[in-house]
Symmetry: C2
Subunit: 318 residues, 2 copies
Amino acid sequence: MRQAGRSLPEYRKVREGVGMLESCLRPDLVTEITMQPVRRYGVDAAILFSDIVLPVKAAGVDLDIKAGVGPVVAEPVRSAADVARLPSLEPDQVAPVAEAIRGLVTELAGTPLIGFAGAPFTLASYLVEGGPSRDHARTKALMYGDEDTWHALAGRLADIAIAYLTVQVDAGVSAVQLFDSWAGSLSAVDYERYVLPHSRRVLESVSNVPRIHFGVDTAELLALMASAGADVVGVDWRVALDAAASRVGPGVALQGNLDPAAVFAPWDAVAERARDVLRRGKAAAGHIFNLGHGVLPDSDPDVLKRLVDFVHEETAGS
Amino acid sequence: MRQAGRSLPEYRKVREGVGMLESCLRPDLVTEITMQPVRRYGVDAAILFSDIVLPVKAAGVDLDIKAGVGPVVAEPVRSAADVARLPSLEPDQVAPVAEAIRGLVTELAGTPLIGFAGAPFTLASYLVEGGPSRDHARTKALMYGDEDTWHALAGRLADIAIAYLTVQVDAGVSAVQLFDSWAGSLSAVDYERYVLPHSRRVLESVSNVPRIHFGVDTAELLALMASAGADVVGVDWRVALDAAASRVGPGVALQGNLDPAAVFAPWDAVAERARDVLRRGKAAAGHIFNLGHGVLPDSDPDVLKRLVDFVHEETAGS
């Protein structure tokens, strides 16, 4: 469960007075925060505590994460010259992440650790808009109006994602997840033309581990996201897993997709819906039970714990 | 084009110092603001200036629209008792809207006027959450956990929408649009069970005029939204119109679906994309060219004017 930590009091405690990106570069905090949901919930895999803009920051781009806002970029990237100035990511710049991963692999004692990186389109949106955006209007204007600059930008960000994931795989993660949070704002035609080649290059660079490819609002994109080289495609709650299974085709597993809002309902309703997710997930080549998006901040940890236990009971022996 | 006014300087001028909901109940302002995009752009139809929460406010619910936030409800509606206290809408309470429509029909001199109302799910989300929400977590928790109260709430809001649309049709609008802004946050299974019956009741109540049914993120819901009794289904830019046409089935027209972000690109890219929309729209039983969502506030009115002219030129004689 992504962002499972932020609903936990023990998470808020260790983060007190420590900025988001600072915490992602402190091996002690990365280790502790990555372990917290594993300890609390007994989930079957850990997901590395990090942030999708971390490698861009580590490479030297002037950006910060402002509480209640999100990533804010000092100098937005909007021209060919801006793109040419973008730095590369050197492995040394994320050495604390590698150190944390090596420690975590030992501490997790066999529980898989999933690494992750932001996909080129989503990273590009932050850089072009200068911060979070609902419409991605400047990003799309660049994409539609200056295709060469767009591809140059997405290519540089793919390089950063590749470098970051390679560090993670070398340090011992068991799988990786490529997050394209905003890809769902694109039509399939645009995704295929402007985004897919770059995400494919990222996924192909780490083909030695299982690769999960995730976005939200991706009903129209599931087949393309699978074709980018994913072993597992994450599905939000809008598309039933049996329908999603037929879209991604044979041999591709699914991850998801209980509505994160569902855990606010009374337990019987949560259980009924979780059972439905498990049932529909059987149609896929493999199924990793998860929420359909990140854990909402006000989620009750006790309900999440009960949900994990419920899924374990329902799938015991299967 | 919905919300075409908000990018216009003449709109910002007449709204100076006047609250959103106040402006929706002043016939002089409703008339002026409804006419502005018609004068500026020469579009083929006018859309009534109003707000989806207006009839709820007019009925007596204590809510206001805060600038930069959206609708804020003083006492959120979360229990059967809260639902029982909801008022009905009496035609007199929206008499200024009827007065504006009567004047507009004369002033428009044959250009059709499209009325509109918010659909039960979207209105319910504002009332249950107490304001705008990205996750609709409390709304869904109510829906999933207390189905009777949910249906009672959605039924009351359907009654308000019916009363509001009936006033509009009686006053002379040529068509109506039912806005379900947030329906796309639901899976098809949930939409069909919790929302469709109420939206269908609203659309059936005004079957004497053409009915447009619109939401965003509705890739999975297009067939259901058509089956609710729509003559036209609005499509956002994520689904190509030729694909949408096969989902809504024969006899249902489409509205859309240029990405509102596309108008920020250089003109050649805008024209190329508009032409593609027109081409794909030919697959439908009918096509109303529009953006795939509301006009973004920073849109350049000159580009929008050029777009309207372009569509008229491309479709002249057809």
